[in-house]
Amino acid sequence: MNDFSVLIGGKAGEGLNKAGQILAHLMGRLGYRVYMYYDYPSLIRGGHNFSVIRGSEQKIAGHRAGMDIVLALNQDTVDFHRDKILPGGLLIYDAYYAKGEGMAIPLKQIIEQNKAPSITANSGIIGAFCKAVGIEWGILEEVLHRDIPPKVLEINLAVARGGFDAAQEHQKLHDLGRSALPFITGNEAIGLGLIQGGLTTWVAYPMTPSSSLLHFLAEMSDKVGLKVIHPENEIAVMNMALGFAAAGERVGVGTSGGGFCLMSEGLSLAGMSETPIVIMMGQRTGPSTGLPTYTGQTEYHFLRHAGQGEFSRFIVAPGDANEAFYWSTVALNLAWKFQIPAFILTDKTLSEGGYSFTIDEIRKVPVEDSPRWDGTLPYRRYAFTESGVSPLTEYGREKAVVKVNGYYHDPRGITTEDPGIVAPMQEKLLRKLQGLDQELVSYDTVNQSGSSGAVVALVCWGSNKGVCQEVAEHLGLRMVQPVVLWPFPVDSLRRALEGTSRVILVENNATGQLAAMMRQYGFAVHEQIHKYDGRPFTVEELENRVKGVLP
């Protein structure tokens, strides 16, 4: 099977994310399905950044530890990553800023000759890479034409050509002869999925790894008639969004753990007032500020229980860009259909990772909404119904007095302390979960792959999907991934685990949050594999860890 990995490393501010994208696009042109992992510390210039770009015949959603090519713009890259080069692999490095064994490219000279800015070193080493793996100049030229802004295109082309000419062919990267797929990040997939679902407003305060979604939607706002608002802080974000929702907008917010803490009071207000809202929650390494640019899976239970009191909510944790797109549309629908908060739970790995995206494989989801008020007077915002969902209308509708309320209230929305109304109102809030549960029967809430008959199952959630799937395939295991995390898909999970005798949980946390939830529902968990240093698993690392716990 064709499976090819390249790492490009240098300092922050040298455009290594962009360089990774160009490499991904190049592989895409050869028909590869691509995944990209981007690793960067929390700083703006300097330090050590790198991107790992992996292409494969199959669709993938994880990276490998071993590299076919390492592109080193500085000595750190050589030092940190040379051990990862596979037998037969190659180090290509800047002859001036680094020393190593492999192919030295005189980037400094090339740049000076072209009077180019130093950031073009990127293009230079990518030129060398193309030559080394036999990608034709014409393909690189075309990709650069698309990816580089016109103002600086010429100079980048010149430096890329210099790099190309200075390199030698090393190993031919097989052309799979298929057409390219769009290559997008998890956050871009979420943004597009939300747009597909009819999003009209996005409210957010910047926080890694949700900021890039804010930026993406802000860029899109003109095109799709989206209002994108960045208020004073996350408390304002949440409450403003509830105002938007009450006024009839389809609205979402994005944040990470610390910002979500500040939203939790508003979340409870959403619950009590039955105001729909979508919340994109991007996990990173906690507690507290922790490692702001690294990954983690530590907020599942927090989301499940955040906010005082008990009310219905929906939590989905997509595993790759396709799922992110699809479930973001669904999350919007479910939030509005049931008038509840719906969470899209991601992590840095998914949000900022790059994926080959196949929109045509995604089941089309029409925009769904709450039952609407039929005009019967008086309007009762919280009319008791069998489903717990009351017909909705927004402010300003003729003759409707719409009273939204965060206290216990009667059906009209007027505060009450009458235990005879309070108890059924609490039941109404929770009854929606049953409807939601039923609704979800028609969705694939739990994914299964690997060997379906295997008695050993790897169970994971969110961005670990990719690596777990591969490891399961290599080792002949079953891979089970609950995508919907709340309401907990007990039946689907039971079916997916039927016939297994050994269940191994894989999570990017230290305590085992999915494991705890499974135990609560009576599922056996035999082994738990944790990683909590902020870095995602590579395929090899996980494979070794899994082998270590196999009988």
């Binding site: 696009h25 895409g28 390219a180 797929l181 769009p182 290559f183 997008i184 597009l192 747009i195 597909q196 407003t201 409210v203 899109m220 095109k223 799709v224 008639g225 989206l226 209002k227 608002i229 208020p231 004073e232 802080n233 408390i235 304002a236 974000v237 949440m238 409450n239 403003m240 969004a241 509830l242 105002g243 938007f244 009450a246 006024a247 907008e249 609205v251 009071e265 508003g266 207000l269 007032s273 995206f357 929109i359 925009v367 927004e394 402010y395 300003g396 509708r397 003729e398 003759k399 409707a400 007095v401 719409v402 009273k403 939204v404 309320n405 965060g406 206290y407 929305g413 007027i414 505060t415």
Partner: protein, 283 residues
């Protein structure tokens, strides 16, 4: 035109003598007046925080969002950006708007979002039984400060001027005749309108005789410089005894937040088209 009584049948639980009654009736009267002038009742949305003041959301029979302590202003902001045709009015408390959620008040003013903020300023936390607020005088003996507070009060009018509010006034619940036109004026002002209403708390801070002896009506001074406005706003510092002006202090025409936004509507089909186009850019 609808003929609605505008007061709901929710049992009223304010203390006898509470200044909130004056605000309730003033609002009712103003809504009725505005309805006669052609604004239909459905266009009003009342957004409240939590506190005695906030019960007005239950009592007035108009659209409302009974939100949480300190957060009425962001809720109102969302409503107004979404629906520029609505008149969005925040009834907030002094604990609410000057303590728990002060930042939102300032940012509302900074954005010049076209909402009306009416602070029921009884200078005490009423509903939580009598603690000091940011406008209580130095040395106020509340239940959290039995030996007296250690801080001077804020002057909310001055703070609002600095923050960019384009309408600033002060009312008093014992002067209903002035309160009505003030409310109406503030609601009709285009931009961020701010009214600090001295509201008698009959139970925890009844200083009506002090107010009665100090209040007077201010006259708008259209040609005034910013510094002159400030000087007038600072006549009373919410701490020492000094003449307390009631009325409109400041008014300015300026583009609102909504004025600067332009959004077009996009159909579901167009959305899909745009998504396809974006994906093509990512090949």
């Amino acid at each position: 035109m609808t003929e609605r009584p505008l007061i709901t049948d929710a049992p009223n639980t304010w203390c006898p003598g509470c200044g909130n009654f004056a605000l309730e009736y003033a609002f009712r009267d103003v809504f009725q007046e505005l309805q006669k002038e052609g604004i239909s009742l459905e266009k009003f949305v009342l957004v409240t925080g939590i506190g005695c003041h906030a019960k007005i959301a239950d009592y007035l029979d108009v659209n409302s969002f009974y939100a949480i302590h300190g957060r009425a202003i962001p809720v109102a902001t969302g409503i107004k950006i979404a629906r520029p045709d609505l008149h969005v009015i925040c009834c907030v408390g002094d604990g609410d708007a000057y303590a728990e959620g002060l930042d939102h008040l300032i940012f509302g003013a900074k954005r010049n979002i076209d909402i009306t903020v009416v602070v029921h300023n009884n200078r005490v936390y009423g509903l939580t039984t009598g603690q000091y607020t940011p406008t209580s005088p130095l040395g106020f003996k509340g239940r959290s400060t039995p030996a007296g507070t250690l801080e001077y009060p804020l002057n909310p009018l001055e703070l609002m001027l600095t923050s960019g509010a384009t309408y600033i006034g002060r009312g008093y619940t014992k002067n209903l005749k002035l309160l009505r036109p003030l409310l109406k004026d503030a609601i009709l002002h285009k931009g961020f309108s701010f009214l600090d209403v001295l509201q008698i708390c009959a139970t925890y801070y009844d200083v009506h005789s002090m107010y009665d002896s100090l209040v007077y009506e201010v006259k708008e001074q259209p040609g005034e410089s910013y510094e002159e406005v400030i000087k007038r706003l600072r006549e009373w510092d919410y701490n020492n005894k000094a003449p307390i002006g009631l009325g409109t202090y400041y008014r300015k025409e300026a583009p609102t937040f909504n004025d600067r936004i332009t959004v077009m509507k996009v159909s579901d089909r167009e959305r899909e088209e745009i998504i396809r186009r974006v994906l093509e850019e990512h090949l």
